[in-house]
């Protein structure tokens, strides 16, 4: 199991390469893979538990038959079997689907997987409780029989365990004693557990393949290539989304908004992100006064939109935090603060306001931003 998991996880580190759109396939999503891993693990646990439960139940049933105790136990028995059936019939998680992403995983897929895991946990707990209950009643009834049942089960488990590890019976230890002795510590000549050894070979093999793909055949993307792929992919998605939505506000098309909803939304954003430096009333502190007639980077709606969107000098850019619509809202709100004459206002900075002042050279500073 472990090796399998390793393999899946390693495979996931080769995100589908290059041009095609397969990058966000949920199968390659590490979140999805780890969740699937957890589901498989829990499934194995449940199967194991179901086996134990069945053995215990069968044993109990046989014993009950002898004792003629009545139908109640049969019901339990059937219930048990039902449990194990549900356990084995776990729905497979759906894969794919985009839109809302939770760590690049669609919300539906994520919640489905989480609920599958939750259901699995509930089932496992229910089975454990049942086993416990049965064992308890058995204990009261006749411990010997139960012990026998558990012993047989244990034996088969143990032999399976012994087999995969190539264990030798403990009472034959003396045959493989190497005769080394250090302060009473002796050493045995046990063989290497085969799964360990082949696992080791497998990891070496994976390592070679990994290196070969990244640095010889170049069939897997290096960090920067991976970045470029993800950005171009995201840009396409955004374009598609915006074209569907029909929103095309930008610094060339933006207009002053005056509806009370827009101004209220703008105010909320202002209080959250701007008021720290410009004060709640726009009087300015760390940042300049927004209520007076003086402006560093222009007071035209388009200039202000640009200043907020891309930032200037110490003014941070907000394009990665707020949509253009939101930036238009907050710009409109800021314009509404003009002339409010708040107390303790910061002294003027910049040039006095003029109608439609052209953008200064200053305001085109920021370059390196990947514009969607």
């Amino acid at each position: 199991m472990v090796c399998l998991l390793t393999l899946t996880l390693t495979a996931s580190s080769f995100p589908a390469f290059a041009q095609d759109k397969k990058v966000d396939d949920a199968l390659e999503n590490p979140v999805a893979i780890s969740l699937v891993g957890i589901m498989i693990f829990l499934l194995l646990v449940i199967i194991q538990l179901a086996n134990i439960l069945l053995t215990v139940a069968k044993n109990k049933l046989e014993k009950e038959k002898q004792n003629r105790r009545g139908p109640a136990t049969i019901v339990t028995f059937i219930l048990m079997i039902l449990y194990s059936v549900t356990a084995n019939a776990q729905p497979e998680p759906p894969v794919g689907d985009t839109e809302f992403s939770f760590g690049n995983l669609s919300a539906t897929a994520f919640y489905l997987m989480i609920s599958v895991i939750l259901i699995e946990i509930v089932i496992a707990i229910a089975m454990l409780l049942n086993i416990r209950k049965m064992v308890d009643t058995e204990k009261q009834a006749k411990p010997a029989l139960l012990k026998e049942a558990i012993a047989t089960k244990k034996k088969s488990l143990v032999s399976w365990w012994d087999r995969i590890n190539r264990f030798r019976p403990i009472d034959q230890d003396t045959n493989i004693d190497l005769g080394h002795e250090y302060d009473g510590i002796r050493e045995l000549d046990n063989r290497l557990p085969p799964w360990w050894l082949y696992g080791f070979y497998l990891t070496i093999f994976i390592g070679v393949i990994y290196f070969w793909r990244f640095h010889v055949s170049h069939s897997a993307p290096l960090s920067v290539e991976e970045y470029e792929i993800s950005v171009s992919h995201a840009n396409e998605e955004i374009k598609l989304y915006l074209s569907k939505k029909g929103e095309d506000i930008n610094e060339n098309t933006v207009v002053l908004l005056s509806s009370s909803e827009d101004l209220a939304a703008g105010k909320a954003i202002y209080l959250k992100s701007c008021a720290i430096c410009h004060k709640e009333n726009g009087a300015g502190e760390v940042g300049p006064n927004l209520t007076d007639d003086y402006w560093l980077h222009g007071n035209d709606i388009k200039d202000m939109f640009r200043t907020i969107r891309y930032g200037v000098n110490a003014m941070p850019q907000w394009q990665n935090s707020y949509s253009n619509k939101q930036i238009a809202q907050v710009t409109s709100f800021v314009k509404s603060l003009h002339g409010t004459n708040p107390p303790n206002a910061k002294s003027p900075q910049g040039k006095p306001e003029a109608e439609a002042m052209p953008a200064t050279a200053d305001s085109a500073v920021v370059q390196n931003i990947p514009t969607p």
Binding site: V2, T6, L9, S13, P30, E99, F100, S101, G103, N104, N165, I170, D173, T174, L178, G179, E181, Y182, D183, I185, R186, E187, L188, D189, N190, L192, W196, L197, G199, F200, T203, I204, V208, Y210, F211, F214, H215, L222, S223, Y227, S230, V231, A234, N235, I238, I276, C277, E285, V286, N313, A314, P316, S321, S323, N324, K346, V365, N368, P370, P372
Partner: protein, 730 residues
């Protein structure tokens, strides 16, 4: 069933005459007590730091107790004081018995002991004072580095002296691990500590930027491997079979996993630098060798757990074995998780988040802590000739510790995963969905839970202190434990001896061979990174720091900012959107030491320069929540009061020149003039925003540095040359 060996190798049994000698328990007792004392101190420091993360006021507003200084204190105390002393105690206890000989020299033993404790005391004081090299787990300044080297050599002489005068022909597997530990730690410590002293307690790393990062994580990763893993595996190989009274499961497995482990471990360091500016080929080597590391690590776990075959009933009874079983299991989990975290796709989520912290504490609390507890519970009753005062209390300690680990780790895993996904979330319009602070606030409850788990673990440790105290009171200390064994005499070697048996007779060969095996990986990764130019493409616009910025950078180091802030923007869409253009190798060529960091409790600062006005930084340092409501960053109000020590500027510039930073000839002598000019301009700038500060305060230097970070390629045409430094802030 182990009493009747079918065959016995000749050597000691054939000689009738035995010698009497005494094991030195006094030194083991000393190291054992130091383990307990520093364990408690280190855990307390950790708990305090953990509380500060969600309640920053608990730093009491004092410089020495802020998170940035407590965290290095915690890590150094746990690694070098707690686990270090525990390893020395266990090694000195087991080495004597495995070699059938008293330690080589009592005097060296005690120099080793007191030297190590002095180093720890010096470390604690200097770290709290803010004297640090700024390199994780190697924070100690150069005089202490030299002291560590000397004490380590003394430890080596004592260990090899004991091995050479042994009365046992072959070296047991535990000793192989001790040898590998000694030689590798020596190599790592010396190479990573190359630094150029500026003053008595200040130095700059010899390496810069990418190279410094590679050396540091080659060291950092293998400090985990060879200070926290191999010595403890050695202890496991001695104390587990002793406590369980069972033979070691497989000698073959011991050989294979030992050599594979020490060979492969060394290569894996770059997995701490995935997606960074480190050359891709080095990153890939780190990934590949991490994957291959699973099996060798698990070999140790299997050999430990399988040794318990036939003794599991004892595990139910004996607290020593209980602790060991959980320790080994945690070792197995951590060493499986580690390679998984090295896969790039997983690392993209886990790195810089609390996931890593959880991972490390599975190893630290589970493997190292529980192993240390186990050997203390084993050795102390034996050395006092009595039995443990209360098995029940020890069992309670065990359960409290185990549950503590779970409550510590699970919330942090969750927190790391959740925060990382929040960092990466975009709206469909293409904007980041969450502000950084929102992601921090969403995981605060997990931070609280984590500290509860840690507190439980600590309370468990107090149970142990009481239990051991009562045990000691009930017995009489055996300072010199009598033993006898036949001396080693030269006998013709058995023919057709297994090849490794021959090696086990030759400790010096073993030492050399180990060194070769561990040196290989490091050499192959380090040398090309240093010598091949194309690995770090230079960028013309990247210039050395101005004197004021350099001073500010040293304040950044002193306050341990790197413990919470990274300076490495990885090429991810979300990081570029959040922080700016991803980091390039050529940007760091004058960074002695590099400050990429390993954790983002706060946001990345690699493009902090110019992001906010000077006054923002001033207010933010005085009270972070005034500029970032809900921030968990502590206040640094003393920076506003303290005067900048300009007396050190010239020495710092000269040291940098020696390291190859191209300041003009004789610049050191006039550097303070430039420094004052730039400081005055920042003070004037602050004044515009109604903040009055003298230009000679530390805050001014720090602002200068923060406003510089990442600007060299951000605004390429802007000149930030040394002589015209005041251009920097407009």
């Amino acid at each position: 069933m182990t009493k009747q060996p079918p065959k016995t190798e000749s050597g000691n049994l054939s000689v009738a005459q035995t010698e009497k000698f005494y094991y030195d328990n006094a030194i083991v007792r000393a190291f054992g007590f130091a383990t307990i004392a520093f364990g408690i101190v280190g855990m307390l420091a950790g708990l305090w730091a953990a509380i500060q993360i969600y309640y920053p006021q608990s730093s009491l507003g004092l410089a020495p107790t802020t998170f940035g200084r407590m965290r290095p204190l915690h890590t150094n105390a746990i690694i070098f004081a707690f686990v270090g002393n525990a390893s020395f105690a266990g090694i000195y206890y087991s080495l004597q018995r495995l070699c059938k000989s008293r330690l080589f020299s009592d005097r060296l033993s005690w120099i080793h002991f007191w030297g190590w404790q002095l180093i720890i005391a010096a470390a604690a004081i200097t770290l709290l004072m803010g004297k640090t090299t700024g390199k994780e787990y190697a924070e100690l300044e150069w005089p202490i580095d030299i002291a560590i080297t000397v004490v380590w050599v003394i430890f080596g002489i004592n260990m090899f002296g004991t091995i050479f005068k042994r009365r046992e022909k072959h070296l047991y597997v535990a000793i192989w691990f001790y040898i590998a530990t000694w030689v590798t730690v020596a190599m790592l410590h010396i190479v990573n500590s190359f630094e150029i002293p500026v003053s008595f307690l200040k130095s700059y790393s010899w390496y810069a930027g990418v190279q410094d990062a590679l050396v540091q994580w080659w060291y950092g990763h293998n400090a985990v491997a060879f200070f926290l893993t191999t010595p403890v595996l050695g202890l496991m190989y001695y104390f587990l079979p002793k406590a369980a009274n069972r033979p070691v499961y497989s000698y073959r497995l011991s050989i294979i996993h030992f050599w594979a482990l020490i060979f492969i471990y060394i290569w894996a360091g770059p997995h701490h630098l995935l997606y960074t500016a480190l050359p891709d080929w080095a990153q890939s080597l780190g990934v590949v060798f991490s994957i291959m590391l699973i099996a060798p690590s698990w070999g140790g776990m299997l050999n430990g757990l399988f040794t318990l075959r036939g003794a599991w009933d004892k595990v139910r009874e004996d607290p020593v074995l209980k602790f060991m079983v959980v320790a080994i299991t945690c070792y197995g989990m951590a060493t499986f998780e580690g390679p998984m975290l090295s896969l790039k796709s997983v690392n993209a989520i886990s790195h810089f988040s609390d996931w890593t912290i959880a991972h490390v504490h599975i190893g630290g609390l589970g493997w190292n802590g529980f192993m240390a507890f186990a050997i203390l519970y084993y050795m102390i009753p034996k050395m006092w000739g009595t039995s443990l005062y209360s098995k029940k209390l020890a069992t309670n300690h065990f359960w409290l510790g185990t549950i503590g680990i779970v409550i510590y780790a699970v919330p942090l895993y969750w927190a790391g995963f959740e925060q990382s996904l929040m960092w990466k979330a975009f709206t469909p319009e293409g904007q980041l969905k969450y502000q950084f602070l929102e992601t921090v606030n969403s995981i605060r409850p997990f931070y609280i839970l984590r500290s509860v788990g840690g507190a439980m673990y600590l309370i468990g440790a107090f149970f142990m202190v009481y239990n051991l105290y009562k045990t000691i009171r009930s017995g009489v200390f055996i300072a010199n434990e009598a033993a006898e064994a036949a001396p080693l005499i030269k006998l013709p070697n058995t023919k057709n001896e297994y090849w490794h048996r021959i090696l086990e007779r030759k400790p010096a060969t073993m030492l050399v061979l180990s060194l070769i095996v561990v040196a290989l990986g490091g050499l192959i990764e380090l040398i090309p990174t240093f010598l091949i130019k194309s690995n770090i493409p230079t960028i013309a616009s990247v210039k050395p720091y101005t004197p004021l910025e350099l001073q500010g950078r040293d304040i950044y180091l002193r306050e341990g900012c790197y413990t919470c802030h990274s300076q490495m923007i990885r090429p991810f869409r979300d990081e570029v959107a959040r922080y700016g253009e991803y980091s390039k190798a050529g940007e760091f060529v004058y960074d002695h030491p590099f400050q990429w960091g390993s954790k983002r409790t706060g946001p990345d600062l690699a493009r902090e320069g110019g992001k906010y006005p000077d006054s923002w930084h001033y207010n933010h340092m005085y009270d972070p929540s005034s500029m970032s409501p809900g921030s968990i960053m502590p206040a640094y109000s003393w920076l506003l009061e303290n005067n900048l020590d300009t007396g050190s500027t010239a020495a710092k510039i000269r040291a940098m020149q020696k390291l190859g930073v191209p300041y003009p000839e004789g610049y050191a002598n006039i550097s303070n003039k430039d420094l004052m000019r730039q400081a005055d301009s920042i003070a004037a700038n602050l004044k515009k925003d109604k903040i009055n500060t003298a230009s000679g305060k530390e805050i001014v230097a720090l602002i200068a540095y923060l406003q510089r970070i990442g600007r060299d390629i951000k605004s390429a045409p802007e000149q930030v040359a040394v002589s015209q430094s005041n251009e920097n802030n407009k």
